[in-house]
Symmetry: C2
Subunit: 178 residues, 2 copies
């Protein structure tokens, strides 16, 4: 059946974009990918075209928005490693940004896809930081994602149903308050 | 005194960027301007340069982030009119986006500067929509901003202290809940 495999190998980013569109259509959440930050050097105004520009390092993460009144902030990364997530994939200032969002009452996390084994995990920024703080390491092993993170099961729609996991953290925040 | 006038005539966008940096430095809020959305047509990979691209119409607003656990979303506009804010300045899908953010429990608004009279107002998306729904109009008069909006007084630091006004709405939301 060719059709059922049509979406295989689609990138994580595209999967998340489709997921966010689905959430928006269902009026479940309002979450968008931010545009890629670009430094514009020269514009041809007559042609309304940018003719010289370059990519900037992002100061924040790729995705943010609102769900059930909560501020949501995350980044999504893919790795071809079968055993660990290399921390070189994520900028230090992105970790700092996610930590700040968490401290201000938001729900902040990363989504990591181990593409070779086709497993996608949710890891809260607190669990990420608690690992990197207590381990002098350049990567986070898959076993840690299995232990502290949450597997996001592949679905047809939405493809990467991460709000399912966010619900767990909303429940925890609610219980801590009450 | 030249120094005291040094910042006069600085654009609203730059004022808000400085304000957001100040909020971040003070650990008061985490609010950023989103990058300008650009459609990239051609990249020169050898030179790591974008050589052909064009501006896209933004699907959302320019600013969002988190403050006191609340999702914040707004756009900032300047007008040279002394009497009214032309609605042509704001896209319909931006109004829709802000309405959605409000419906999901966020704090959504626009900041409008009447640059000729040097007055900057905060207007909640609800008040904006309630005006446009009951008036067949292409602009919102300054008098409506004075009546339903909130004047944001010029300050040295932060320059456009809009979170001061956000606090009013947080208080209202809290009172409605309790």
């Amino acid at each position: 059946m060719k059709i059922s495999h049509a979406n295989r190998g689609m990138g994580l980013e595209q999967d998340i974009d489709l997921t966010n569109s689905y959430y928006l259509d269902m009026n479940k959440a309002v979450i968008y990918k931010k545009p890629t930050p670009i430094q514009i050097v020269k514009v041809n105004y007559a042609l309304k075209k940018i003719v010289d520009a370059y990519f900037k390092i992002p100061s924040t993460t790729d995705y943010n928005g609102i769900y059930k009144g909560y501020y949501i902030d995350f980044d999504a990364k893919e790795t071809t490693s079968k055993t660990s997530f290399p921390l070189a994939n994520i900028h230090k200032h992105q970790i700092k940004h996610l930590t700040l969002c968490h401290n201000h009452g938001g729900i902040a996390f990363i989504i990591v896809r181990f593409s070779k084994i086709n497993e996608t995990y949710y890891l809260s920024i607190s669990d990420l930081v608690s690992y990197t703080n207590s381990n002098n390491t350049k990567s986070i092993p898959l076993s840690y994602f299995k232990e502290k993170g949450h597997l996001i099961k592949d679905k047809y729609q939405p493809r990467v149903d991460y709000l399912n996991i966010v619900d767990i953290y909303i429940r925890r925040m609610y219980e801590e308050k009450n």
